[in-house]
Amino acid sequence: MKFIKQMTIIFTISFIAELMEFLIPLPIAASVYGLILMLIGLFTKIIPIEKVENAADFLIEIMPIMFVPSTVSIMTRFDQMKQMLVPLLVISAVSTFLVFAATGKVAQAIMKRKGAKKAGDRR
């Protein structure tokens, strides 16, 4: 029963999100509208987290399996994939490193400034 109620909330939000994708002329997927609706629901406490968390945790646990079918579809484009292999590896490696460095360095600088300010306040 608990699961049915929780799934009802999640699927109803998914449905509203679908309508939003249909009605709003922006290049945003229904799933993202749904995510934002759920965030608003949770943060405003209109949807208490206990009312959705078990079903949400279950769906997240099985999430990677949902990517299997579309990944298997590379078998219909092997030639295209062969050409993409080197760019894909190089771009993934370099950009992962750059994103890591940029995010980490900026966050660390902000945290250090915050730390210094706090130390200053105490004085």
């Binding site: 999640i10 699927f11 939000i13 998914s14 999100a17 679908e18 290049p27 945003i28 997927a29 799933s31 993202v32 749904g34 995510l35 934002i36 609706l37 759920m38 629901g41 949770l42 943060f43 959705v52 949400a56 945790d57 769906l59 997240i60 099985i62 999430m63 990677p64 949902m66 990517f67 299997v68 079918p69 579309s70 990944t71 298997v72 579809s73 590379i74 078998m75 484009r77 994939m81 760019p87 590896l89 771009i91 993934s92 370099v94 950009s95 992962t96 490193f97 750059l98 994103v99 890591f100 460095a101 940029a102 995010t103 980490g104 360095k105 900026v106 966050a107 660390q108 902000i110 945290m111």
Partner: protein, 230 residues
């Protein structure tokens, strides 16, 4: 054989679940991050389909129902983010500024390298969401008519790299602050990196898991600036 399987609505779903479990088993036994269950499952399924001479449409006839849950699961991603609410309230500037920087760095570096490799529009668009979580990234690729499997493979490679390299990169770049470590790991390598961040520490894990969703949403907002550059 193909005739019979084409009528089946459970064949594709059954082998997807089965081989994903095999992938999980191999990862558990080898404890090797490159043994990613998704990649193992995909390789095995393609192998079986090729050997038995079954075409993709026959497989997808059943497998497509698994994908039906993609929107509900993306909606569910709000839950882990909400659980990190305290951390967001505590470090709002660090969270939003650094993740936004990371997203610009991801999109900018992908743009420049796609130019260097001379990639076409469709390949370029498919790579743009490769740093974020698959559920949101796939949505972006579909919106801009990219090629979803390229996105998923890019995301998987990125995740495995982040997972394997996280600790070395922190040391090398002298990122010592736990909040900064978590943000860097989650923004650069989504859920696969986050599993490493959770091993490193509680703050690192929490910051990394909130970065997954925040980076995903910021990417959705910023990506329109980049899609038409190539």
């Amino acid at each position: 054989m193909n005739e019979m399987l084409r009528e089946s609505i459970f064949f594709g779903a059954a082998i997807s679940l089965l081989f994903y479990q095999v992938g999980m088993y191999i990862q558990k036994k080898t404890k090797f991050s490159l043994a990613n269950p998704l990649l193992i499952a995909v390789i095995l399924i393609i192998g079986v389909l090729l050997v038995l001479d079954i075409d993709y449409d026959t497989y997808n006839n059943g497998a497509k129902y698994i994908q039906y849950f993609l929107t509900p699961v993306t909606v569910s991603l709000a839950v882990p983010l909400y659980r990190q609410l305290n951390y967001i309230k505590k470090y709002p500037v660090a969270v939003f500024v650094s993740i936004t920087m990371g997203v610009f760095m991801a999109l900018g570096s992908i743009y420049i390298m796609s130019l260097l490799f001379g990639l076409g529009h469709q390949d370029y668009v498919s790579l743009l969401p490769k740093s974020i979580t698959t559920a949101i990234g796939m949505g972006i690729t579909e919106q801009y008519d990219g090629i979803v499997p390229i996105t998923i493979i890019g995301i998987s490679i990125t995740g495995v790299m982040g997972n394997v390299m996280a600790e070395i990169l922190c040391k090398w770049l002298r990122i010592t602050e736990p909040v900064a470590k978590g943000l860097a790991i989650g923004t650069s390598s989504h859920a696969l990196g986050t599993s490493k961040a959770l091993e490193i520490g509680e703050v690192e894990g929490a910051m990394s898991s909130l970065s997954i969703v925040v980076a995903g949403i910021i990417t959705v907002i910023i990506v329109p600036l980049f899609v038409n550059l190539i």
